[in-house]
Assembly symmetry: D2
């Protein structure tokens, strides 16, 4: 879709990173004044964030599932169950 619209010229990694934070803020806007966001709007804004994440991953030849799994493994190691249970403390302060 990007190719046939010749949008690739705008899709530098830097512009995509800007786009991700812009869409993430629109997602947060669903919760600006209340903890309950409208379901349809949240769905749509989350899809926008994910779409730009996938475009950036493609651009950098990264496999989305692989980097998420790698990070998960890293988090497991940084936050051992016995230390991290029930706490939102950062790993370097555990």
């Amino acid at each position: 879709m990007v190719a046939e619209r010749e949008w690739d010229q705008f899709h530098t990694p830097e512009n995509l990173a800007k786009s991700i934070v812009i869409e993430a803020a629109e997602l947060l806007e669903c919760f600006q004044w209340s903890p309950d966001g409208d379901h349809q709007r949240v769905r749509s804004e989350l899809a926008d964030v994910l779409t730009y994440c996938h475009l950036l991953a493609d651009k950098l030849d990264l496999d989305v599932d692989e980097i998420v799994l790698d990070k998960l493994q890293e988090t497991r190691t940084k936050y051992p169950v016995d230390k991290a249970r029930g706490r939102s403390t950062k790993h370097d302060q555990l």
Copy 2:
């Protein structure tokens, strides 16, 4: 992983939306002063954004692939190839 660490209590949709924008800004930080971000750091920060996106999707019983495909279809319709080619204009100004 979230379950065994009893982190679910912190993972309200609102807190996850905050987390997504916080991680997205860390991703942007890779490009704060230059268009070229360090590859390893970009990979790691992008994984963080995606991880929180997946946690929010799970929380709201949304299928990540489905919402991205739906949005893609919507974008195709909003930005017809003949109008949108080579332009970064918003659909309502095309």
Copy 3:
């Protein structure tokens, strides 16, 4: 301070706009998992946001107080007291 450190070369409007959102997300991080942010940290992060806002205003020859007052006047007009009282609805939905 910026001048004597020769940082002006990095301070394009675009880079400053990126910096503002990056610092704003660090401010939000004070409230990531709880509505109560640590006072000293909030103070410090808010100062960072404001500093980059002032740098951008200077760059664009804007007077910070003037643009805030103008916006205030605009908001007063867009949200008449009788319609907006006690509501967080957006002006175009009032």
Copy 4:
């Protein structure tokens, strides 16, 4: 203005911090696909960021000018002229 519209109930520090990042992302949107943002739009979005910063400062009894000056003093100390000149490196890597 906030008082007469009874908006104070929505203006918790947390909600204001969310609002700051949301407005900061709208400011960044002026530069999403190009380093040159439209002047009027940048002016308006910057005013929004500053307005919410001031509301948060008021809420926390902080003096905007004081915290900016304190931070400036801190930055001068963290980034000595002879080390930081012409570099965008973070202080802990100087």
